[in-house]
């Protein structure tokens, strides 16, 4: 029986409490910081050598799907009723709406040093020290909406431009792809500053603080954001069922391609787990979105 991932705005007070408590519990056990380390370790940029399994490549979606499942397993070992909720940033768009409430993730960082000082993840509460950060601050940071040069969250229309693309991904399978569902959703563009940020990337930038750096997993909103991104993959698969709803590329790039050995084809093992993208395409037996 598949479990349900819910819109965070529809969680009951008890569900909110259980979700937060499970996060605090795995943080205390040291499990959470392992997720931070994994995300840092697998961030390979496409102008560098090496296999890109997590970002700037077609396996962006299956990599994060599997990453979320691992987190969900850890939470469920603490409280089996917990599932990862999603944050629909096309609807809950203000700095005071969910998930930025005191009974969920707490609010914005304070202007002085961007320190989150409200909610369960505030440093003063003692449950959420940042041990695997890029900067030396031990507290969680946020800069919702980027105060010094405000930006808006992606709109429903922008998300629709990604969902409407019937092709999963295209050559050269990196951050420069102008076509294909994957990069339109991942959100790498060209040009200056926020004009180059779309969908997934723009949300990281909008939250700011920890979420804009390599250790973005330190902010638990990472999971709510990526659950919503994951939901888009499911929606895209359903919408284009009669077209070409499969992960691409189906086969590894040829010997003369600059992308050979640098991306994960549909049936190739995806580090660090060794599962292949096609094994992550249908998760309807594990969970569904409500």
């Amino acid at each position: 029986m598949a479990y349900v991932r819910k819109d965070v705005s529809r969680l009951t007070p008890d569900e909110r409490r259980r979700f937060v408590n499970a996060l605090l519990r795995i943080k205390w056990r040291g499990e959470y910081d392992e997720f931070v380390r994994i995300h840092i370790a697998y961030y390979t940029s496409d102008g560098e050598r090496g296999l890109r399994s997590a970002h700037m490549g077609p396996s962006f979606l299956p990599w994060h799907r599997r990453f979320l499942l691992d987190l969900e397993r850890a939470l469920q070992r603490v409280d089996e009723s917990v599932t990862v909720p999603y944050w629909d940033w096309t609807r809950d768009r203000s700095t005071t709406s969910v998930p930025w409430t005191d009974d969920l993730l707490g609010g914005n960082g304070r202007p002085f040093d961007r320190q989150v000082v409200t909610g369960p993840f505030a440093y003063v509460q003692g449950y959420w020290p940042i041990r695997e950060g890029i900067i030396d601050a031990l507290f969680l940071t946020r800069d919702l909406g980027r105060a010094h040069d405000p930006i808006e969250l992606p709109t429903e229309e922008e998300l629709e431009t990604a969902l409407a693309d019937p092709v999963y991904d295209t050559e050269p399978w990196d951050s420069t792809c102008e076509e294909g569902f994957r990069n339109k959703l991942e959100g790498w563009g060209t040009g200056e500053d926020s004009a180059a940020l779309h969908n997934h990337n723009l949300v990281h930038r909008w939250v700011g603080g920890a979420m804009v750096g390599g250790a973005s997993v330190n902010d638990p909103v990472f999971w709510l954001h990526h659950a919503f991104v994951d939901l888009q993959w499911t929606r895209w698969q359903q919408r284009h069922r009669n077209g070409a709803p499969h992960y691409l590329p189906a086969y590894p790039p040829g010997p003369r391609s600059g992308q050979r050995g640098r991306i994960v084809a549909r049936h190739e093992p995806m580090p660090p787990w060794g599962v292949s993208p096609d094994e992550m395409e249908d998760v309807s037996g594990i969970y569904r979105y409500a």
Partner: protein, 157 residues
């Protein structure tokens, strides 16, 4: 379609931990390769560049001393150039995108035309009194453990 996700152990299991450990060791090894500085403090043109990029910078930006130099790593992983950048003496890892722009570990989602702009953008994200963590894990660039090696590898600048 087979979904193994439910049955595969999660992140803390030995296989994944070993993979992380290998990557961390690879990064330490890369640091130990002691890159040879090819640039002086005086900004000058990057070797082989078309004149657009400087090969070093050293300035005070928003009260922070930012320094960068294009270096040529030696040893078994030699080849290409990399930027070695510090903010108030603490290393900042830069990564290159295939369009030739630069990202940093502090600001992963905006990319900039030059390493100097990417470094300034990283400073913009630092709060008062905040510093980069020493030995902050860098992007470990794949199985070879190469770090921010942009110049000659599939870059279509």
């Amino acid at each position: 379609m087979v979904v193994r996700a439910g049955g595969v152990p999660m992140g803390g299991e030995p296989r994944v931990s070993q993979a992380i450990r290998r990557r961390v060791l690879a990064s330490i090894a890369a640091l130990a390769l002691a890159p040879v500085l090819v640039a002086s403090r005086v900004p000058r043109r990057a070797p082989g560049s078309e004149g657009a990029a400087e090969s070093a910078f050293d300035e005070i930006y928003r009260g922070r001393r930012i320094r960068g130099a294009l270096v040529t790593p030696t040893g078994p992983r030699a080849g290409g150039h990399a930027w070695q950048v510090t903010v108030d003496g603490h290393p900042l890892h830069l990564m290159r995108r295939s369009d030739g722009t630069w990202l940093s570990m502090v600001n992963h989602y905006n990319s900039y035309r030059t390493s100097l702009e990417a470094t300034r953008a990283a400073v913009d994200e630092l709060g008062p009194g905040q510093r980069l963590r020493d030995l902050a894990p860098g992007p470990l660039g794949g199985p070879q453990g190469s770090m921010h090696m942009g110049e000659d590898h599939g870059v279509r600048a």
